[in-house]
Amino acid sequence: MRACNRNSVLYSALARGLALLLSTASAQAGSTPITHGTLELVAENQWIAPGQKFDLGLHFQLEKGWHIYWINPGDSGEPPRVEWQLPQGVTAGVIEWPTPHRLESPTIMDFGYENAVTLIVPMQPDASLAAQHSVQFGASVKLLVCSHEMCIPGKAQLSLALPIKSQPPPSDPRTADLFAGARKSLPLPMPGNWKIKVADRKDSFVLTANIGHQTTQAVFFPLVESQIENTAPQKLVSLASGFQLTLRKSDQLLKPIQRLKGVLTLSTDRAYLIDVPLRKARSSSGTE
């Protein structure tokens, strides 16, 4: 499954390289060096149309052996943080985090991204925006870049200029592959026919998923820190129409939780966002 992942990353890196080669005169600002890599602010469309939501992307290209972190970084690290400087009348949404990878060593399990990753951030322009030749987008990014041997803090100030026009904006061919790749790596909403239950046991959460077919492979990435023991093996029992996954509770989990939220990957190219209320064991009810 790893090899498959690497191929898709390689593919997007190649596509990106090709796009860079093909682009000459560029409205995109180009990539900014960061610690052990580069970072670039990219736009999916060639211009902004008033009132029409559009996507920007933070594209990270990392040297081999270095990684950045998911929104829940796992046992160590910290996700990138961005502060926007936006044109008047534009508001930023939250980062859409692609499905992370496990970054593991025998004692530490982190969640993040190696090689290349694009974090999509949706933007909403006001309907009242007037056409302009060019408006500036700025992003101050703070991040932690780590290898197995060391961690280094990074900072970057990114900028991008885009015109505002009243016509519907065409997508930018130079970034089309990048955004398509980034969307493919986002976890999907949970399918409506799935039934997931999570039992709250003394030392573990037991997730039982009925997804309509037998499943032999599943990995859960918790969206919230300190709920499950990241390094503990996730014991999977294959069921006729799904699977059961036992997740050991974290030693840092001091209060009962109400819901289990996270990303469930069933194979390298399929990941789903789940958010399931917990079913308390009957015997332990009454204590809150």
Partner: protein, 203 residues
């Protein structure tokens, strides 16, 4: 005869298994260790039974550790608590070649330059102590009570960033644990996620 031999073997096996699998957990006995300090002295944890002991995982290149040393916060804590009889061990579990690995004399220079004041800095390049306590990050902090029981394990405070301005106004979990335990109260927050850089073990 045979049976007693078997019992001895069983006990030995169980002890062996315990020492292999027991990472320090809050509420459980702090695993004992012997280490060499940067000042050349041997340190045996069990010798400090009867005192509170703080373990601080250190990596001088880690930006989260840097935050607490550049701001003077760690040195302040070390002075504040050692002056009240608390034993404070800074532990260096980075493997040779990895960030944070230093020789004894380099560590002594660092301690002098930073005006750090732990009871001792313990050199753990094999990661033995780190693994014994399942230390995941620098700066992970562990507090052991006079009975030798782990009463806190986790982050130094509630601001998991590398920004220096995150130090003032942070809730310091080590202070809380020591203050509450010394007042005879249970530690309100005995375990947190120990933020920081992963400990740079050499696997």
């Amino acid at each position: 005869m045979k049976r007693s031999t078997l019992n001895v073997m069983l006990v030995a096996l169980l002890l062996c298994m315990a020492s292999l699998t027991s990472a320090a957990k809050v509420g459980e006995a702090a695993p004992d260790f012997t280490a060499t300090a940067s000042n050349g002295k041997a340190v045996h944890l069990a010798d400090y039974r009867g005192k509170y002991v703080v373990l601080e995982w250190h990596n001088n290149g880690c930006p989260y550790v840097g935050k607490h040393y550049k701001s003077g916060n760690m040195q302040r804590l070390q002075k504040q608590w050692t002056s009240q009889g608390v034993i404070w061990f800074t532990i260096l579990s980075s493997a040779p070649g990895n960030q944070g690995y230093v020789t004894a004399s380099e560590e002594n220079d660092y301690l002098a330059k930073m005006q750090a004041a732990p009871t001792a800095a313990l050199l753990d390049p094999s990661g033995q102590i780190g693994h014994l306590y399942d230390a995941k990050t620098s700066p992970q902090m562990i507090v052991i009570n006079p009975q030798g029981v782990v009463i806190y394990s986790g982050a130094i405070d509630d601001k998991p960033t590398t920004d220096l301005d995150g130090v003032p106004g942070a809730t310091n979990y080590v202070n809380r644990a020591l203050e509450q335990a010394m007042a005879g109260k249970p530690v309100e927050t005995p375990a947190t996620r120990p933020y920081g850089c992963s400990v740079k073990y050499g696997d």
